[in-house]
């Protein structure tokens, strides 16, 4: 019986390790993308601020916008419906990969979930680069929802 347990645990460990190798997604900012030369087709999460005035809507729900972290910007292309809280000049996280032309093709866009909140990853990255403005940080006190479901995940996956 203990042997059986060992086998199950070993299988589980193998599953976890292989899944961790294949399915984790790193977080980057445009600055990090510029420095690290991420290969086209490699999935990652891009975080930053939607550059004001960069949002363009094309035909058939295609949208293009630029994500900036103050030092660098990266063009993002997305097809679909943007989250309710997606706005220019505010924080965003997109998941997808770079194409050959260096455009970030997003298949998921997550926006922050109230008008003063900034995704934590984005806030940390901006702080690190010295582009943090205090007014991003005005946390609406105690707006924490209790144990709600994925209520804030204003994203879309396609």
């Amino acid at each position: 019986m203990i042997g059986g347990a060992g086998v199950v645990l070993a299988i589980a460990a193998a599953l976890v390790l292989s899944a961790l190798r294949d399915s984790i997604v790193f977080f980057s900012t445009p600055q990090m993308v510029a420095e690290q030369h991420i290969a086209a087709g490699k999935r990652f999460r891009l975080g930053g601020v939607v550059e004001p005035g960069s949002l363009q809507r094309g035909a058939d729900l295609a949208v293009a916008f630029k994500v900036s972290d103050g030092s660098n910007t990266l063009p993002v292309a997305y097809k679909g419906i943007l989250p309710d809280l997606f706005r220019e000049g505010q924080g965003v996280i997109a998941e997808g990969a770079l194409d050959a032309a260096g455009v970030f093709k997003a298949d998921t866009v997550l926006a922050k979930h109230d008008e003063t909140y900034m995704p934590k990853d984005v806030a940390d990255a901006l702080k690190k680069q010295g582009h943090w403005k205090d007014d991003y940080d005005k946390k609406p006190g105690g707006q924490a929802a209790s144990a709600q479901p994925a209520v804030a995940k204003q994203g879309l996956t396609q």
Binding site: M1, G4, A5, V8, L9, I11, A12, L15, V16, S18, A19, L20, D22, S23, I24, V25, F26, F27, R45, R57, D60, L61, G80, I81, L82, D84, L85, I93, L110, H113, D114, E115, Y117, P119, K120, D121, D124, K139, P140, G141, G142, Q143, A144, A145, S146, A147, Q148, P149, A150, V151, A152, K153, Q154, G155, L156, T157, Q158
Partner: protein, 660 residues
Amino acid sequence: MIAEAGHYALVLALGLALIQATVPILGAWLRDGALMNVARSTALAQLAFAAASFAALVWLHVSSDFSVVNVFENSHSMKPLLYKITGVWGNHEGSMLLWVSILALFGGLVAAFGNNLPLSLRAHVLAVQAWIASAFYLFILLTSNPFLRIADPPIEGRDLNPVLQDIGLAIHPPMLYLGYVGFSISFSFAVAALIEGRVDAAWARWVRPWTLMAWVFLTLGIAMGSYWAYYELGWGGWWFWDPVENASLMPWLAGTALLHSAVVMEKRNALKVWTILLSILTFSLSLLGTFLVRSGVLTSVHAFATDPTRGVFILLILCVFIGGSLTLFAWRASALKQGGLFAPISREGALVLNNLFLTTACATVFVGTLYPLALEVLTGDKISVGAPFFNLTFGPLFVPLLLAVPFGPLLAWKRGDLAGAAQRLIAAGVTALLAVAMVAAWTRGGAVLAPLAIGLAVFVIAGAVADLAERIGLFRNRFAVTLRRAFGLPRSTWGTMFAHAGVGVALIGIVCETTWNSEYIASMKEGDVARIAGYALKLEGATQRQGPNFREQIARFAVSRGGKALDPMTPSKRSFSTRGMSTTEAALQTHGVSQLYVSLGETAADGTIAVRIYHKPLVLLIWFGPLLMAFGGLLSLSDRRLRVGAPKPAKPSRAMQAAE
């Protein structure tokens, strides 16, 4: 005045909890019955004061007293009454107050209905409950006081986050907390057993109903949360493997394991040490869930709270309780007498297998949830572990577990007959294979794994029914005999059948929804027709409407299928002026257990509306499954042998089964 009274009641509850945490232990040590009985009265009084404090906060919200910070930040005078009440726990401070109130409620229940417990065990259990309660009262009073006043009261509040203004908030958090906190009882029993150095089958009999009750609530809470996310977020997802969801799934997995190992302990007096450990782990995972959600350590898009003092305080609570109980376990577990041995092929063996897979699955969720946090702390790298990870690890572990589920109840205690069980499952196996063949033929060329998964689900359901049919001698006896036997079966047997079948039902829903979900995303003009899964949806136009605290834009779709008109669908988009936020109200139309789902995106300048339409086949089964599981749990709970506070089991169940 009300706020100060509520605050004062909370301080008094802390005082009572401190007495309850110490005096009964002293009493047990001195073998003084009077001192031990202090636990009972303080637990009841503590419940009264915690309830008074909670009622005070509810009153402040209902009467829109904006001189209280908590009300100002989360309420609005125009908000409907229901959301004024639910808004009480739609924020950090209020939800923590709900948490301790439920803790006090469970303590009070043990005090009120625990008359048949040995005096010292009851004293210890209630004392441990009071340790937990004291820690959380302190947490609230020092870092998250919901009764703080504003010196200069504003005339209007800032409103509740619109996403939370939904009936889901009325049900989901209280259910979830009843589950989370309910596991504190089995934790307290485990710690009490370790302190006393004595644990026996009777102990398991006391613990089982409490665990079962907590498990039922947690099951319903998770299912409700999932359905809420599904209809409220507007993009039809029902489970995201988000850390906050995983935080509730982990105690559920451990709790399910605990439920099963407690059966072994009660019936066979075996697996004692393991059951104690599981009790500790289950509640520890509940505490971990509270920590993850409340401290804001997660990058998760839904942990809003970000206040380091709170985080550190909860981390401290977490370390003291988990570390303390595990240390106690390491020190005292060897004092517990080991129970009987059993053959691997037996009911006990099957339940051990169940525990093995459930706890391993729980461990993989744990790794996936905490690995990104650990990595960020250690290396500074930010990663996200998403659905692919969990599908690759959790899925494969659940397959053997589900294959084994039908065998468990068919094996006898002590020494089972695997061949015999397999023989009785032939019908179920054949049904499952037929299901695989039918689904594969019907969806030829489609997904390969989906028909197999459906076959597995059918096997679980048919296996549960086969077990029942076996017990009542269906088709072998005259109908009247069968019926009499069916009524004579212990309710827990029926409970097992419903709960196991529920797992299969949920799996069918999950597989169908993920595999054959169809979607249509486009921008539509008035008069445009969207065709999806045999339905035609025509956009007839959009209108504006003023709600109590929002404006909404409603789109009207005429729905038809095969030329026959069905009810129209009216999805909408609400904008809440107070917070400048908008929410998407999806329109759902149910056909059988499948659903059509329409939600709106933004409206362009030329009047075209971005629209998302889904057809979700058999999607409702995803939530019917957990409902069945919870119903099974309730049935078992109503079994007289398990009734909370039942003095003694009427008859050992082995004897009853042998008689059939």
